[in-house]
């Protein structure tokens, strides 16, 4: 899976923002913290939920359980909005 091309990732201060182009059905804005930013960076290339969890578990001093929960929740939300292909 991969971030849909109609969604742009924008960083403003400490916030990560996902903004859809005029082509997307969804017309709102998604805001989140650094975790969202990291997940979105990984979604720029074709990847899987498992790969994202593995990469983040290696990189961050947070329990795998917490990372799994965060990643699954974030990806499920992004999928609902049509921001993820595949």
């Amino acid at each position: 899976m991969k971030l849909n091309k109609n969604f742009l990732v924008h960083k403003s201060g400490k916030e990560t923002i996902v903004v859809p182009t005029g082509n997307a059905e969804f017309s709102g804005i998604v805001k989140g913290n650094k975790t969202l930013g990291v997940i979105l960076d990984l979604l720029k290339k074709d990847t899987t939920e498992q790969q994202i969890i593995d990469t983040m578990a290696e990189e961050y001093e947070v329990s795998r359980e917490v990372i799994e929960k965060d990643v699954r929740m974030t990806i499920s939300r992004l999928k609902e909005l049509g921001a993820i292909d595949g």
Partner: protein, 243 residues
């Protein structure tokens, strides 16, 4: 039908199926070599019909039956707004009023009372308050600073003039029983700025729009106003924001 116009310092050729858009834009007629051309086809008009129907449904009003030539006007502005980020300019939804050569831009969701509030400014300040654009001004952000341009698309009361004025402040407006205003941070205003800016279909143009908004935010002040419809609301917002 085709004609050439100058809008937000850009020379634009409009090629249309219907004549109405040319009458609508007539105060912006210009003779010169176009920076770009926008031309509409039937599919663009159909797109606007679908889009306005969706908005009507979202606002829980019955779907309006809109004339083809009116829908074409919308299509033309959408095409202009798609091109403008290339020229450091983007479309913003708000009511822009200038006083003593400085522009104040009020923004809020449709139906909140932006136009009502700028009307109170005119009642308070008389001819010193000049309506730049009551609905969809263009904003240019470059080395000369942040400039608001009047455009033909100035709302249902057709309030606006063909001028360019430096932007001083953006004010997010909310209805309230009593009047109060406070300065807010860029971060607090940011979501509203994104929501009220035109989001191009082209992702390069959208990315440019976001950087223009970020740069604009460094140069102006932001305010949150709770206001009623009494003229004292205008007195409060004008006197506080002018500094």
């Amino acid at each position: 039908m085709k004609n050439i116009y100058k809008i937000a310092d850009k020379v634009i050729e409009i090629v249309s199926l219907h004549d109405k858009v040319h009458d609508y834009c007539k105060e912006y007629r210009f003779d010169g070599v176009p920076d770009f051309t926008v031309s509409t086809v039937q599919a663009d008009i159909d797109y606007e019909r679908e889009k306005t129907a969706k908005t009507d449904i979202a606002q829980r009003i019955s779907v309006r039956h809109l004339a083809e030539d009116y829908l074409e006007e919308l299509a033309v502005y959408r095409k202009i707004a798609e091109q403008m980020p290339k020229y450091d300019t983007f479309l913003f939804h708000g009511s822009a009023v200038a006083v003593d050569g400085e522009c104040y831009l009020f923004t809020a969701k449709s139906g909140t009372g932006k136009s009502t509030h700028t009307r109170l400014w005119r009642a308070l300040l008389g001819s010193r308050a000049v309506m730049v654009n009551d609905d969809k001004p263009l904003i240019r952000v470059n080395d000369n600073g942040v400039t608001v341009f009047g455009t033909p698309y100035n709302g249902k009361h057709r309030l606006g003039v063909n001028i360019a004025v430096p932007l001083k402040a953006v004010c997010i407006l909310e209805r309230s029983a009593d009047n109060h205003i406070r300065q807010i941070t860029k971060a607090e205003a940011y979501t509203m700025l994104l929501q009220q800016s035109y989001r191009p279909h082209n992702s390069t143009a959208l990315a440019k729009t976001l950087t223009l908004i970020d740069t604009m935010a460094q140069h102006i002040t932001f305010w949150r106003l709770g206001c009623n419809m009494d003229i004292s609301a205008a007195k409060l917002s004008y006197e506080t924001m002018k500094g």
